[in-house]
């Protein structure tokens, strides 16, 4: 397997006057959160292990105070962890020299911020070209790239506006264009849409999915909104009190939640959009007859109508073989909700 772009190895970040007493040689001396808390230390993140794969969208999800922003700052090389290692391309991110870290930030990372972080004294063009200006690229080159980025996010014609003259959605488009201007390998999005209206938020999510389809970046996306996570993520990590509760695809979290917290978190998820035929079928297939066929990887939403209209069960196909069957009662279970349903393991 290819090595992950970014990885966390037992990463912790502690706050409190006595925090340094519990760290030796970059390792925590205790595995017990309570010991730390009794010493007046707040572990913002605690013993986090993660692998972030190349070209995939990895979502870190949690409520406020769960440590997701601290984790992002560690991953992005902004805040050093108190213990553990952040591996970037298999090298410890915080063992790079300051000059090397600056080069990594300039050429390999880009970030979109929750409150946009646009520079108020620069125009749209100036903001998007800002990272290139910092790199010291010549004016003509950086403005050409910036123009391309502005077209990419659909803001052409507004290059010479100032941020204060744009709507929230437009401002965040500028933020997105700017974060992509340096052509980063890893694209960090820190709750990029939580400051936006729900309608705009949906539109911007579609924008990120569209851009990701074109650019194939490695994305680290922070959100507190499970629906948003489902929409954009390849894999999701759910955090609580500084610890990762579970990592997996949206469907894995839904089908086999590791903890009650994950179960509660995913309760109101749009199940029909997440679950595939495989996770709701019965594996003891009757011989038929079938009303039709669906692929094991098809989402429920894509065949729900067909199933509803058919009086016979549908066959679930994988590699041209029938591996299971779905009937209308299963559809109803999904709609009614998880309390009355015992899905999978």
């Amino acid at each position: 397997m290819q090595h992950p772009v970014l990885a966390c190895r037992k990463v912790s970040r502690l706050y409190g006057a006595r925090a340094s007493e519990f760290v030796t040689d970059g390792h925590l001396t205790t595995d017990n959160v309570q010991t730390l808390q009794e010493a007046g230390i707040t572990p913002a993140i605690f013993n986090v292990d993660l692998d972030i794969e190349r070209g995939k969208t990895f979502v870190i999800m949690g409520l406020s105070g769960s440590g997701k922003s601290t984790l992002l700052r560690c991953l992005a090389g902004l805040t050093p962890p108190s213990a553990g290692k952040i591996l970037f391309e298999s090298k410890n991110l915080f063992e790079f020299s300051e000059a090397d870290l600056i080069q990594i930030h300039r050429h390999q990372m880009g970030m979109v911020f929750q409150h946009f972080a646009l520079l108020p004294h620069l125009t749209v063009l100036g903001n998007v070209a800002f990272p290139l200006e910092i790199q010291g690229r010549p004016r003509a080159e950086r403005e050409e790239i910036a123009q391309r980025m502005i077209r990419l996010v659909g803001l052409e014609g507004r290059e010479h506006r100032f941020p204060a003259q744009l709507s929230g959605g437009q401002q965040q488009r500028v933020g997105i264009a700017r974060s992509l201007a340096g052509d980063p390998d890893v694209w960090f999005l820190d709750e990029p849409f939580s400051a936006l209206d729900p309608l705009i938020r949906r539109e911007m999510q579609a924008e990120v999915i569209r851009l990701q389809g074109m650019l194939k970046k490695t994305i680290v996306f922070i959100t507190h909104d499970f629906e948003e996570a489902v929409r954009v993520a390849d894999r999701i990590a759910i955090m609580k009190d500084g610890q990762v509760e579970q990592v997996g695809t949206a469907e894995e979290l839904l089908v086999s939640p590791a903890t009650d917290y994950v179960r509660a978190f995913t309760r109101d998820a749009p199940r029909a959009h997440i679950l595939t035929a495989r996770s709701i079928m019965t594996t003891s297939p009757s011989a038929g007859p079938f009303g039709g066929e669906v692929n094991a990887t098809d989402r429920v939403i894509s065949f729900a109508r067909e199933l509803d209209a058919s009086s016979l069960p549908l066959a679930v196909i994988e590699n041209n073989e029938i591996i299971g069957a779905i009937d209308r009662t299963m559809l109803l279970d999904i709609l009614i909700g998880p309390e009355t349903q015992a899905v999978g393991a």
């Binding site: 700052r73 992005a76 090389g77 902004l78 600056i102 080069q103 990594i104 930030h105 300039r106 050429h107 990372m109 880009g110 970030m111 911020f113 929750q114 409150h115 946009f116 972080a117 520079l119 108020p120 004294h121 620069l122 125009t123 800002f130 990272p131 200006e133 910092i134 790199q135 010479h160 506006r161 100032f162 941020p163 204060a164 003259q165 974060s179 340096g182 960090f188």
Partner: protein
């Protein structure tokens, strides 16, 4: 002290006396008893601080200055050689600015000087500035600047105003740049900030008079000493504003800097400073205002310009002349401020529209101004504003004051006598009757209760200092004059501030009024007051109240009008009347702001004290002023420090009060 007598008053009206306030009540009662007891009851050392116990700090400072200027060496260089060299360096930009604006290029010395090239003629400067203002902010600013400069030309203030402008420009630039640099250092190193902070406090509260003399000794008589004194006076707010503005840059923008790979320098220059610029401009505004404030004082040590004109007019008791020169300072202040604000790019204004034509206008106007300048060099006759077209309102003001004096002498006298007999004299007697050990003890105890051991030590030592250096009596007179004036300023200012917020039109006129009062040199309005009320404590009090009322009004209005809208709505929804909203919501919410206003009022009152020394008070201001005229460095510095300490004691108490709401 004043604080102690103010606190329990609120208790008497309300509920039964709260135990928390009991110590204050006891202190007040004891103070009154102590003050009323015949003096002979106390041992001699309590009645008056014994001369034998005095610390001759003033002599030591004088001796030190002597040593510094005569014997001290920095490596191979004597200190005085070093300061003279520095003075020469600082003189260069000053020379350049006044060459361009006021004096022209001269050859030779004194009255034999021959002008090789004239300064910018008035019409050329107006054209250039108007064109610049128009491109920066449009025609409104251009018209305003033109009117301002025309005022200077028409009323015959041009040459003096340009001398002042040159020195203020250089001083303001130095203060702004220096303040910015110090502020950035404070942000970078907390230790540096902690070390600098008390020095800034002293620089801000010590009267300028107190360090004029050391400046003169170190840097020689002339504009450079005046400029350095100005910078010392004007730099503290710039440092403070810089720290606040830089720390106020959102964290996200710092992260942005890191994420785009900014080096430390790029972070400062590309992210922090541009984002903090609107905040920093508040500091620049302060710097300009403060620089203009000391123009008059600086003119005493050879800076010349408008300040000198005002002083001259005062000596002739020429109200009209003084007022016109004084107003010229105000006009200069307003113009400088507006122009400086216009230099900040406005993010809300659309950028590029017609920027090329703007460039063309600028180039054309500058070329025209240059041509006119050359023309003025060739035909010097056209360079000066014609004498015959000058106006003066001087006679009008002189007549007005005499008219008031003739027709309203009796009622004015009644007011004065009443205030003197029933307010000023009793308070003064009370303050002077308090035994000094008692006052020091009370101040220390108050520090202990309010803020703990650190505060107690700080304020106690500062208070003791005044007794130890033998300036107890003038310090108490200072406290009485300042205290009464501050109370009156607050009694007048708070209601005005409250009423003004309810009526926007009133707010505007009040703002113009207090802006004028603050930029108009205090000397100017002291003259009519002196003519109406003659010299004495009452006159000084009016002067102080007029000067110090501005923050009382401004901070109250700010606090009242910045109550969150949701709180007001909550009040409305619970059925509060307008009065209830004011009393139950707005006023409590505005209290911290009003306390800040009180703080500023006290500091301004203290700084005004030194100027009112001219009208014959007997306080610390007088001691400072007398020391200046006797060239007694030590006494001047020590008296100045006493004034600074009074300001800092009240500042520490008020800040502590703001920090613990409800106390």
């Amino acid at each position: 002290m004043k604080k102690a007598s103010a606190l329990p008053a609120g208790v008497v009206f309300g509920k039964p006396v709260n135990l928390r306030h009991l110590p204050w009540l006891i202190i007040v009662i004891l103070s009154v008893i102590l003050a009323e007891l015949p003096r002979t009851v106390f041992p001699r050392w309590v009645q008056k601080y014994p001369t034998g116990w005095r610390l001759s700090l003033a002599d030591w400072i004088s001796a030190f200055m002597h040593w510094l200027t005569v014997d001290a060496h920095l490596g191979p260089l004597t200190v005085s050689g070093f300061t003279r060299a520095l003075s020469f360096l600082l003189d260069l930009p000053l020379q350049l600015a006044s060459m361009v604006l006021a004096t022209g290029v001269l050859k030779g010395q004194g009255s034999e000087a021959v002008m090789l090239f004239p300064p910018v003629p008035w019409f050329a400067l107006i054209i250039a500035i108007a064109a610049l203002s128009w491109t920066l902010r449009g025609w409104r600013l251009a018209v305003g600047m033109t009117i301002g400069f025309l005022y200077l030309a028409v009323f015959g203030q041009w040459t003096s105003a340009m001398v002042t402008l040159a020195s203020v420009l250089v001083a303001a630039l130095l203060s702004a740049a220096g303040g910015l640099a110090l502020g950035l250092l404070c942000v970078r190193s907390a230790t540096f900030g902690r070390l600098l902070s008390p020095l800034l406090d002293v620089a801000q509260t010590m009267p300028v008079f107190a360090y004029l003399l050391p400046m003169l000794i170190l840097f020689g008589f002339g504009p450079v000493s005046a400029m350095i004194a100005t910078v010392i006076y004007a730099i503290p707010p710039m440092v403070r504003v810089t720290v606040v503005a830089i720390q106020g840059v959102p964290d996200e923008l710092r992260s942005l800097g890191s994420m785009t790979g900014c080096t430390r320098r790029q972070m400062t220059w590309r992210i922090l400073l541009p984002t903090a610029l609107p905040g920093l401009m508040v500091g620049v505004n302060q710097v300009i205002m403060l620089s203009l404030n000391v123009v008059i004082i600086a003119s005493m040590i050879g800076a010349g310009g408008l300040g000198w004109d005002v002083l001259g007019a005062l000596r002739r008791l020429d109200i009209g002349g003084g007022l016109e020169a004084g107003l010229a300072i105000t006009v200069l202040a307003v113009m400088l401020d507006r122009f400086a604000q216009a230099l900040v790019p406005d993010a809300r204004r659309s950028g590029p529209s017609g920027s090329r034509s703007h460039h063309r206008v600028i180039a054309g106007a500058l070329a025209l101004a240059g041509l006119l300048w050359i023309a003025a060099a060739l035909w010097p006759a056209i360079a000066h504003y014609p004498e015959s077209a000058r106006l003066s309102t001087g006679p009008f003001w002189n007549d007005l004051v005499s008219w008031i004096n003739i027709h309203f002498h009796d009622p004015l006298d009644v007011i004065k006598t009443f205030m003197l007999l029933h307010v000023l004299m009793p308070v003064k007697r009370f303050m002077l009757a308090l035994p000094w050990p008692w006052v020091v003890t009370v101040v220390t105890l108050a520090g202990l209760w309010m803020g703990g051991i650190r505060l107690a030590l700080t304020v106690g030592l500062m208070c003791g200092f005044m007794a130890v250096v033998g300036l107890w009596q003038p310090a108490m007179i200072t406290l009485y004059l300042c205290g009464v004036s501050v109370v009156i300023a607050m009694l007048l200012g708070v209601p005005v501030g409250v009423i003004a917020t309810q009526r926007p039109w009133l707010m505007k006129s009040v703002e113009v009024f207090i802006d004028t009062l603050q930029t108009l040199p205090a000397f100017v309005y002291l003259i009519p007051i002196v003519m109406l009320f003659r010299v004495g404590d009452f006159t000084a009090m009016i002067g102080i109240v007029l000067y110090a009322i501005a923050p009382a009004i401004r901070y109250t209005a700010h606090g009242i009008s910045h109550v969150p809208e949701s709180l007001i709505e909550a009040g409305t929804m619970t059925g509060c009347t307008r009065g209830q909203i004011l009393r139950r919501i707005r006023l409590p919410h505005a209290l911290p702001d009003m306390l800040l206003g009180l703080n500023q009022t006290i500091l301004l009152a203290l700084s005004m004290l030194v100027i009112t020394a001219l009208v014959g008070t007997r306080d610390l201001g007088q001691v400072t002023y007398a020391a200046l005229s006797k060239a007694d460095v030590g006494q001047g510095v020590v008296a100045g420090l006493c004034v600074a300490f009074i300001g800092m004691i009240s500042d520490r108490f008020i800040r502590q009060a703001i920090r613990q709401p409800g106390s």
